[in-house]
Amino acid sequence: MQDITKNVLKKELKYYEKNKKEFLKTYKGQFVVIKDNKLIGSYTTEIEAYRAGVEGFGTASFLIKRVVDQEPSVDIPALTTGAINVSL
């Protein structure tokens, strides 16, 4: 079984960061698919991007990234406060 704790998208994420300024000029607000060091396409929705990625690369890994100036913060308070710790 594949070890998902490894960051299999390291190369793609690096490529995105390197080219982010350029992407913002053309694809702002869209979802881009990146494989290795190549932009595959841009899409209006994440599911469109996903379908395109799977069509192109099957079960291999690829990155979907929404092109935005600032990455949205992700908060999951229940995980840190223990609020979901239940036992009935």
């Binding site: 994440e46 996903y50 799977v54 079960t59 913060s73 999951i76 229940a78 979901i84 239940v86 036992s87």
Partner: protein
Amino acid sequence: MSVYNNLFLHTGPDGNKLNPEILLMSGPILSVEISIPSALASALTKENKPTPNPTTGWALIDTGATRSCVDDDVIRKLGVNPIGAGDIHNSGGKQSVNFFPAHFRFPGVPLPEIEFTSAIGVNISAQKVNNQPIIALLGRDILRSCVFIYNGTLGMYTLSI
């Protein structure tokens, strides 16, 4: 729009009665089946690879979560690759996480399937309700398309998608 009323009942000598304490202890949960999106299932078939079996457990509706989450072990068993990565904020600062494609179905519940969501892989299955693990958190990315009414006084909630 499909509407689901989940009543948290206690069975006693007088029959079933709504019990707010059960909702208080469990939180707003519903049964969920997590599998891979159909696009990926088709790709596996094309590559003559087996489609992994879905995993069933509880989903907890979590209005505090920006994005939905799936349990790390469940995702491992599905054998899918991440499609993104990012940071979540917790008490210790930032933590790096992966985002995975997932398909949610709600067995026995009149709610539509969620064909695709990009969910955060986290370790939550140690949390159990009636000996069944919580394997997903339904966050505000899903709730943005829903009406959710939590009735703590009666011991029920309503979810419509």
